[in-house]
Structures are given as structure tokens and as C-alpha cells.
Symmetry: C2
Amino acid sequence: MTSKTKSLERNRRALNVTGLRITSQRALILEIIRRGHLDADEIYRQAREKQPRLSLSTVYRTLQVLKKLGLVEELHFDDTHHHYEVKPSSDHHHLVCLGCGQVIEFHYPLSRYVKRNVPEAKEFKVIETEVRMTGYCSKCR
Amino acid sequence: MTSKTKSLERNRRALNVTGLRITSQRALILEIIRRGHLDADEIYRQAREKQPRLSLSTVYRTLQVLKKLGLVEELHFDDTHHHYEVKPSSDHHHLVCLGCGQVIEFHYPLSRYVKRNVPEAKEFKVIETEVRMTGYCSKCR
DNA sequence: CTCAGTGCAAAAGCTTTGCATAATA
DNA sequence: TATTATGCAAAGCTTTTGCACTGAG
């Protein structure tokens, strides 16, 4: 089984559990999101290379569905676009370089740490944590 | 000196250092932002109670200027609006309740903690840290 | 065959911009 | 008085929605 078939299979399963219909558009979009942090328009452009008739509305609608299902997470790197990525299982955060624009991911159980140390957070039931640190990477600083 | 005069004086000084012109609109907008986390439209509505002729463009332009000067920080609580607050001196983060919408602030030197513990962050020069945890507050959980 | 999903085009936000007018320094 | 800032209206972007058609189950 090729890696590509495997990935398609994984997407098919992910969609299937939910009772949603498995359309070629959804499988393709999910496939593309796995490539990294992308915004709607980038997903649209990449998807149209495979399916030229795909519409931007479908991209947005699919992203909403996947977000609602918890398969995909919406991020806020900059002011104008949203970015999307497949939802990670653990705390999962980002360093955004103001110089070259690269996004460095890191995993760390920050919500646990915050809950332990911050009085305000003690009685808060945390659902989601997003940490975004901007600055300069080792090359750009 | 009343507290109100003092606050006006503070805004005047804040604007003055920068070489910008002190207009009644800018002073008013800065005054309003000090009240808490507000989005452009809320600022606009509150500002118009005092200056009915103020335009929304002026609000946006002023916010951009203040942001560029580092007097005000732009936040990303939800998908559709930006929120603004006067820039705090130390690490300063937010718990957003999905139930009642309240925003709980907390201070904690998280960037320092991350830099110490996360390998990816070690050689990163951090300029700004934004932590946003969503979930449910003690009343809503 | 049926209903969920799609494409297209149009609308709906929020935010920015051009230009003449008003106000600051 | 010389610019800078404002107000208004119009444009620009991203995102959402209505509707008829298509395709998955």
C-alpha cells in the first residue's frame, strides 16, 4: 500500500466515523491541510490543481465542518487570515518569526502548567489553548 | 485634580511623546481603550456617545497608529473581530469563557518559562506572547 | 431515489483608502 | 500657514449564504 493510498484511507476513515458523506472534495481538502498551516485561499489554490472546478465556498464550508467535528483547528497568526491545521492531540503551540515568516511548532503541556500556577485558571475548565509567540528566529535575530 | 483630568493628562502625554498631533478623537479613543478589551465597533459606539460626529475610519486609523506606536495591542479572541487593549508591561494573557463570554486576565511570565523549557524556543528572540485559553469559567462549567 | 454536498454568483461582514474639509502646531 | 488628521463614501478582502444542480449512499 503506497503512502498516498494510506493517507487517503486515513482521511476516508476520519470522515466516515462522523456520518458525513465522503466526497472527493472533502478528502482532498483534508489531505491538503495535513501538509501544514494553510489559510483558506492557499488550500483553495492547492486543491484546484487537482480539482479545477472546486469552489472557494466548498473550501470554507468544509473547513467549518471539519472544525466543528474537531478534526481541524483554526489558528490566528495574523490579522487578516485564519489558518488551519489538523488538530493535534496534545498542547501544541507556535513561534512565528517576524523576519522570515516561518512558523515553528512546539509541543508542551502548557495548559496543565498554567492551571497549576495561575490562580485565575484554577477553577477554569480549559477546552483549548493557543499560544502564539512572535519574535525572531535564530537566523533573523 | 480629578481622576478624569489625570487620565486625560496621561493620554495627552502618551500621545505627545510620539510627535503625533493630539486630537480630541485620539484622546477619546485612547481613553476608551483603557476601559478594557474592546473591538473597533464597541470603541466606535462608546466614542460616539461623546463625539457623535466621529467616524469609524478614524477609529481604525487611530488603532493602527496606536498599535504601531506600541501603545495598544491587538488581540484575537474570536474569528471575526479584533480586540484592542492598552499594552501591558509584562506577560499578560487571557481566559475566554465559552459560556458567558467573560474574559479573565492573568499575568504570568510564560515566555520566560517557555524559553527555559522548550528547546525550539531557546534560540528564538521573543517579542510578544499571546496565550488564549478557551473553556468554561466556574459559573458556566 | 433522496437528501446532503457542490458550484456559482451575490451578499455580508470587517477593514482600508481617496479626496475634500477641518483642525493642530 | 503648512501639514496632519478627519469625515464621508466607496472600494477591498475574507467569509457566508441562496438556489438550482450533482452525486454519494
